[in-house]
Amino acid sequence: MRRSVSVAVFITVEILVIAALSTGRQNAALAAQQKTEAAEVKIDNFSFGPATLTVSVGTTVTWTNRDDIPHTVTSADDPKAFKSKVLDTDEKFSFTFTQPGTYPYFCSIHPKMTAKVVVQ
């Protein structure tokens, strides 16, 4: 009997802990969302513009392919921080930078196309 009570108490505590944790997570996510800024990179004429984009932590960068040839947005780091699927004309790719640092990237189809995002 005593044993089943203690089990019940334990389960209750566990539920409370999980509830508290998930609320905390939601709050953190909400806070990050509120802080999020947006930035754009245009892909045109076999180049990324701007070639160097400086943003603050939490910024979501969106690349749009304005070229009449498909391109990709592929991290040059190992392991790759991000990698888009192939982007045909007018297709977009977004990535949110949550850590400061310099992120070099390129087009894996036309590797001479290189650029970087600096996250501060």
């Binding site: 004429n45 498909p70 192939v86 045909d88 590797p111 001479k112």
Partner: protein
Amino acid sequence: MWTQLGKHGWKISPGNNWPCLTVCINETRPIRGAGSLDSLTRAALQAGWQETATKNNGGIGVSKNEEERMSPITEARKTVLRNSQNELLHDHNHDGIDRRGFLKCMAWAGTGTFCVIRGGMLRSYSMSRLAELDPREMAKEIAGELSFAQISDSHMGFNKAANPDVAGTLQAAVDKINGLAVRPEFLLHTGDISHLSKPEEFDAVEQILKNAKPKDTFYVPGEHDVLDDDGKQFLDRFGKGSQGAGWYSFDKKGVHFVGLVNVMNLKAGGLGTLGHDQLEWLEDDVKHLKHSTPIVVFAHIPLWSVYPEWGWGTEDSAQALAYLKKFGSVTVLNGHIHQTMQKVEGNVTFHAAASTAFPQPAPGKADSPGPVKVPAEQLKSVLGITDVNFVRGKQALGVVDSTLE
């Protein structure tokens, strides 16, 4: 005997026992300017064909006796090459554009190139020029023991202004192949079959090529064929019996064909790459072949530095070519740059084929290598196919056949 043809072209008539070879050999100095490439091309086109040949030390696929018999040409060639070799190396290693010191024929007009290997040397013809020939004349020109056609960069799925009907232009290329006086034994497709690696794009190309009289097509992938899946779909469709990412070799009538893959794992800022595994395989693949065996290598991105600034070259091609140094005749067929271009360096003749989809600008002649938009009525004149015809000289025939036994 040498006769000058145009500004930088030369015609050699070696004697009664050898087919007349017409050779464009640049004089080292006049070709330095970018403009002289055009004059070379014009000279070749005015003559109704493009044809290139060079050799270091004797005949290609030719016995020792044959070499001796050919010695007057060999000596003349040696002189030209001796003068040019230092500059060739210098330029090749430094600016990669290879303006100096070797032959480079570039054709920016016409429907592509028709090539003939004779006695191990490659000759090439503009397809539109061939079409102008009387059928009997054409049959005579392209008759041989082995002929094949190269198509490249069909980019099925591309639908922008530069060519809204890539299926139509591929079909036109097939019609041209079917209209040749001699049926090529097979087709080579040097990559960028599709535009976006979509199943329906590959399907469409396969359907159109079913209408071609040659029943076999040998493929290598372009970077547009391996998008998002590391080439799995390409391998499933076209890579049966191949190694690694899709490289393989086969023999046809004494000619050894090698299909290479240089579009995988491209690195930021880099060029095409073959990679260690493939290079090792290549070394082993050609190790036991006799030096007289004519070699035809085909890969998507050029295996020579056409224009590294646009990624038109292959990082580790020098290693691959080193394994092929011992062979008298090596022909390299590429695509990728959507224009025909040729170069001879030592024992190697390089050819890039036109696209069947859309043209790209000449190296450095635009801000980027994007599609060149030409008026619809001119489009077909800048697209094309390449036909290669292998013809063995009587003496060489025995030598090459014995290689196979």
